[in-house]
Amino acid sequence: MAQITFEEISASDFFYRNRDIAGFTNPSRAIFAAIRELVENSLDAAESLKIPPDIYVRLSYEGEASKETQIYKLRVEDNGIGVPPRHIPSAFGQVLFGSKYKLKQQRGTFGLGGKMAILYGQITTHQPATIISSTGGMSKIYSYKLMIDIQRNRPIILDRKVLINKEQWRGTIVEFCLEGDYLRAMPKILDYFKQTAMVNPYANLTFVDPKGRLYRFTRVTKEMPEPPKETLPHPYGVDVELLQRLIQVTPYKNMLEFLKNHFHRVGEITAQKFLEFSNISPSKNPKKLSHEEIVRLMHMLKKFKDFLPPDASCLSPLGEELLKAGIIKELKPEFVAVHQRKPSTYAGHPFIIEVGIAYGGEIPKKGVFIIYRFANRIPLLYDEASDVSVKVINAMNWRRYKVTPEMPIAILVHICSTKVPYKTVGKEFIADRPEVRREIANGLREVARQIQHFLTRIEHVDREKKRLGVFSKYLPKIAQFSAKLAGKEKLPDIEKLLKSVKKFGTEET
């Protein structure tokens, strides 16, 4: 019980003291993190309704805070599902509200990112946040002014208004002030929008920065990926903490039912076999398990070989079509190849790798590959060098595919998983898991083969052009010299020959 008390009393406090974990390390990082968390919540809110997101972000200057930092007002509007009025205060004013025991691919870093941003804003500016939301249709618009009671982790409602919703508006608006350093954060924020637009080609993103500059990222499609299905945890992926929680909430009175109903891909027979394997009585009440027994249960779950691998219905990859559309839209390359790998698993967690490679067009030549990394459709912008995809890219023999870093090349790697294997708490780069590494490498090889075909083709076209150039340079000269030598006034007719060279040329390609 002490643990629960800890959570209730000081969840906000805990994150306040450990805000580095959530990415609010410094004023420039904080402003980036705040925008990112809210935009991702908004994307999720629209996608859960299967409607293409329309997101408007405005950052406006409010005044000096210190020598290096300023106060900004951040406003994020979306057309998402909206929050029912009775949930608004806790959804935005209480940390760890609404944790679930089911799994699906989610964007949010901790599932508390939005609240963390508001908490950070309150800590740095001591001003309330405004939340306006409607679930659309006939429902009204509710507007709240909130602060968070950090010690008690409770929302304090300062003001509440109910407005008539004539336009049948649906969505959520979050507005609050925070301290930050926009000038420093600007490149990352713009990168973030561009890359988010790349993997959300069905979203309209608008950003107005403190100088009043407008950045628009317009959708190119209304097609959206299948939303992920919620799924139960897979037995290979559980830890003691999760087991304890499940035991607390389970209505089932024996182990057989407990296993069948709370775990992914565990049916009657598998459950029986497992209980036999682990020497646990099927009729045992899970609530009666001692701490030692729970630990043992976890080890046995990991040891048992006959669980079916998790299926990937809980994942929502972008899909090759959308990935391609996004890359074309944001990078405007001359050539693009994308590939989606079949679902795979690591430690009981399903994951899918999607990769893309783009060449030429508006992609600049940098002397190194431009690498875009994504996890669950979130751009990863920090710690590139440590990321497993970068390691795989650097280890690949690109020459084999006629690719060199001197070319204008961009490479994109997207991992979706119910549990992205981040290496550190900062959650900015993917750990070097052999299963993940293998999938990335295989995906990259596939697109590398495609770009090789493309490069071979343009090489050929180039050669053909040069060939034609040589003929049209020299044949007229031969005509001129031979006419002179033969004492002819009229030049020989070489048009036919030049034409035949062209025909010959196209046949070869």
């Binding site: 040589v470 020299y474 044949l475 031969i478 010299f481 031979s482 002179k484 007719d493 020959l497």
Partner: protein, 354 residues
């Protein structure tokens, strides 16, 4: 000479017409010529020189790799036609630069030289026939009266003793007619220093000889000139070179021609004699020497297998060089006094190789 010029112009024109007609009929023009690759070069004991075999190569404008050289060849033919019809001469270096006026660049001198050689092969004529000469450096001295045929000098005569440094063997001399001579032999000398010494020592009078300076490996015009002296005036030819594999080969090229000129005839003088300096002379005259280095030795092994060197004299000398592993220059005779070579060595060798 006028006949020759007409013949040259006619064959250039027919080459032009051939290319023109092919183009005009909608074909990629192509030219066939004997292959000059080493596999197609044979030594013909009958004519006592290298000749090309039956193998042909085809240069076609359809082939992208042939297109540039084909164009260059057509240009070179046009340029040569212009030279010959206007009775002007040019050098290989000149050709290289002239091409640029026609936006017909050559990558380097070697490339333009090769094209001229191609043209020689196609036409079966030597470049001197279409008035392209190498840079002159060889000379002749002695009692021979010639009559010029070049424009502006037609009918004028010159005695080749009139200038004490000798007369340059250039286009004008090469194309002149021989009028009369009192000489009864030709002595060809590799080096300028010795050529001058021979003139100073009146070798031409004492031995009744025409002196020819080859200045190293004799240019083709000089080889042709020597052949004419031998053929038209019936003068025996004696060649004096340094006593090393390179000097030996200078003599051999005058006698049997070079592989590089296998596509051409009438450049060699099969009856010319190599009179020294032999390897056996180095031994017999106890000449001051230098050691043969690796390159020299390698050259000797090559020459040993060369069909031109199959005669016993040559084989004996090669073996002697290999045995003594020494070489000597013509100047080495100076250890016995400046005139020793003229007073003692020369008459002995002329007698020996008669």
């Amino acid at each position: 000479m006028i006949e020759k010029r007409k013949e040259v112009l006619a064959s250039l024109e027919s080459l032009g017409l051939k290319i023109y007609d092919q183009l005009d009929n909608g074909y990629f023009p192509s030219i066939e010529m004997p292959s000059r690759s080493t596999e197609n070069i044979y030594y013909d004991p009958q004519v006592r020189q290298f000749i090309l075999g039956d193998r042909k190569v085809r240069r076609s404008a359809r082939n992208i790799r042939h297109l540039k050289p084909f164009t260059q060849l057509t240009w070179a033919a046009t340029f040569s036609h212009e030279l010959t019809s206007q009775r002007k001469t040019s050098t290989l270096r000149d050709v290289y630069y002239s091409a640029q006026a026609y936006e017909m660049t050559f990558t380097d001198q070697q490339e333009s030289n090769n094209i001229i050689t191609d043209l020689e092969t196609v036409l079966g004529l030597s470049r001197e026939d279409f008035n392209i000469f190498p840079e002159e450096r060889s000379a002749v001295f002695g009692d021979l009266t010639i009559e010029y045929t070049v424009p502006g000098y037609e009918g004028r005569t010159l005695n080749l003793t009139s200038h004490p440094d000798g007369v340059l063997i250039g286009p004008a001399l090469t194309s002149s007619e021989f009028v009369k001579t009192s000489a009864d032999k030709v002595i060809a000398i590799e080096k300028g220093g010795l050529f001058t010494r021979f003139i100073e020592e009146n070798v031409h009078k004492k031995f009744n000889a025409l002196l020819v300076l080859t200045a190293g490996q004799a240019p083709r015009a000089t080889r042709h000139f020597i052949r004419r002296l031998n053929g038209e005036l019936n003068l025996p030819v004696y060649v004096f070179t340094d006593g090393d594999p390179w000097g030996m080969h200078i003599a051999m090229v005058i006698i049997s021609g070079s592989a590089n000129a296998a596509h051409l005839r009438e450049l060699n003088t099969p009856d010319a004699k190599w009179s020294g300096v032999w390897a056996t002379d180095i031994v017999n005259y106890k000449l001051p020497t230098d050691p043969l280095d690796d390159v020299d030795m390698k050259r000797l092994y090559e020459l040993q297998k060369d069909p031109r060197y199959k005669d016993p004299l040559w084989q004996r000398e090669i073996k002697t060089f290999m045995k003594i592993k020494r070489k000597a220059e013509q100047e080495a005779f100076s250890r016995y006094g400046l005139t020793y070579i003229v007073d003692e060595y020369l008459p002995a060798k002329l007698e020996e190789t008669k």
